[in-house]
Symmetry: C2
Subunit: 348 residues, 2 copies
């Protein structure tokens, strides 16, 4: 089969690799229908932490089940399935607490498991799925091409935006600021409105992203940053700032922006992978700010979000503004790296 | 009148100072019945941030109202009142959000206000109280000496423990770990049990504090620290750690202990003033830990906690294991500095 391999910084290729085989009786083999490129894929792509050898990549996919192991009981060949960006057994104590990302039997696509067994990346034709019953969520029927895009967002970006909103405590009537206008930030706007937020500010400087933020329900767009941006947010919200801030970037600047934009006693939901982000604990202490979030336990949210996707209440797949065949994966990375695309979908 | 003055590190004296006068028509003058020494008073006492000149000190007191300004409507001379450790108008947008510590007209005892006007410290005979209607909470009647001790804790230490529990999301049935066996940590044990926690672990190495923790309802005491302590906590809670951790110290070690003791997805309520405490954001991200808390908005909690104090449901004044007359204030500081006392009450 063909699968995407990162050979060196910015050297990404579709290579011929061996077809995956069932290994454990809890495995399934899924033929990928669509995958996508994540903002977090750009960090290895840019060589922030260079790999000594070529690595498989990609962690978001949907597809059709081809084979299942002997112990798989709920997932059936022929089903269309959504794969969260981490696999999990959905039965351990941590999964029962909704923290599937800490599953004792879990792992990540494209990286070795705890026994050193390599996992397939998602940007390929076939993926061996460990813990298939726990990991995969099947749809009632095989969707059409438009719906595939919306469903693909359930593997990561939409539930990650939702996790930011949930972690910040967004409920009906909330006022909310979203820091970050990437696909996750835009998804967070959509998620906050879906949860009933009364007023959502999207912080964005790019006309196309501002437009999508408004389409996803943003009530205000603030294009200033730093103190000026925070002051605009304060003006919008009673002169004191927002009750709920969704931090969807992970840099020092974005975390500062989030902290500045929150009112005293406010809550920050953060899902931007922290690269150089830090929190100023004494400042947080004095202003009674809280922060929660982290790597989104997508599996905990898929069943809640799926009906609203299937019935068209939300259209999270609108974040895809570039769709390419898998063999143009390198172009897909380049477009996101250069920010000419918000998010790239790969048709397999 | 006499008031406590910190002249230099460990040089604390009861000095003769001018009696306070009404200054604004929202002021009251309160004759202090009892005050106390806070763990946070020990930082200036130890000279961590030396003051260039002598300063008034103390921020916890109860007393009898002597005079009120012309605009004071709810507080009357002769009433027994509880003074939170910060004053506030109880009407501004931030007070209405329950963040009285960020009141736009608020301030701290013993420090100058925003206009440079000196405020009295609490460890003295009289205190001018700004924003008297917003700040002071009167009891239905003048309490006896035993009840005075319990009511005095409502000025800081008991609501601060309560704030840790609330910020960590403690509800009926919760499992909880308390890091810190000072007066705030012990109060946090009491507050968590009052909120219905099913199982509370107190981390303490001192027999007298362990005993008080158990009296306040702790179900388990762990006397190990670091990894060993966290492993004991994990064993107690399903092998994964606690849902709710109350951090009541503010050092690097205590914050690390709190983070290690939480299960993935857990919540940390922190009320220890951060001195060298830091949070490891990437670790928090990977484990989905949340942290909230800060300087406790005592005024927001007094009316909720007061009935349980008055009817004896809780006896938070048991944290006072040393009671001295005000003129022995220096001995009171020394006992807390040397940790021979958990908390010192000063009878005025």
């Amino acid at each position: 089969m063909h699968a995407t391999v990162l050979h060196a910084p910015r050297d990404i290729r579709l290579d011929e690799v061996p077809d995956p085989q069932l290994r454990d009786d809890t495995d399934a083999i899924v033929r990928v229908v669509a995958a996508c490129v994540c903002g977090s894929d750009l960090w290895p792509y840019r060589g922030v932490h260079p790999n000594p050898q070529p690595v498989r990549i990609g962690h978001e996919f949907v597809g059709i089940v081809e084979q299942v192991g002997a112990a798989v009981t709920t997932i059936r060949p022929g089903s269309f399935v959504i794969a969260p960006f981490m696999y999990s057994d959905n039965t351990c104590a941590l999964c029962r607490h909704g923290v599937h990302t800490s599953c004792v039997n879990g792992g990540v696509w494209g990286r070795p498991d705890r026994h050193g067994v390599e996992n397939d990346g998602a940007q390929g034709e076939l993926v061996r799925v460990p813990q298939a019953d726990g990991t995969l969520v099947a749809t009632p029927q095989v969707p059409d091409a438009v719906m595939v895009a919306h469903l693909l967002t359930l593997s990561d970006v939409f539930p990650t935006g939702h996790h930011a909103a949930v972690s910040a405590g967004v409920t009906p009537g909330s006022n909310v600021v979203v820091v970050g206008d990437g696909a996750v930030g835009l998804s967070a706007v959509l998620a906050a409105k879906r949860l009933g937020a009364a007023s959502v500010v999207a912080m964005s400087r790019h006309a196309d992203r501002q437009e999508l933020a408004r389409r996803f329900g943003a009530d205000h767009v603030v294009d200033e940053r730093g103190r000026a941006g925070a002051n605009q947010v304060k003006e919008i919200f009673d002169g004191i700032g927002a009750d709920h801030v969704l931090e969807c970037v992970g840099t020092k600047e974005s975390m500062d922006q989030a902290m500045r934009s929150a009112r005293p006693g406010g809550r920050i939901g953060y899902v931007g992978i922290p690269h150089d982000a830090v929190v100023d604990l004494p400042m947080m202490f004095g202003r009674n700010l809280g922060i929660a979030g982290g790597v989104a336990p997508v599996r905990a949210y898929v069943e809640e979000l799926l009906p609203d996707v299937l019935d068209g209440t939300v259209t999270p797949g609108d974040v895809f503004d570039l769709t390419l065949p898998l063999d143009q994966v390198a172009d897909g990375y380049r477009a996101m790296d250069e920010r000419t695309a918000i998010k790239t979908m790969l048709r397999v």
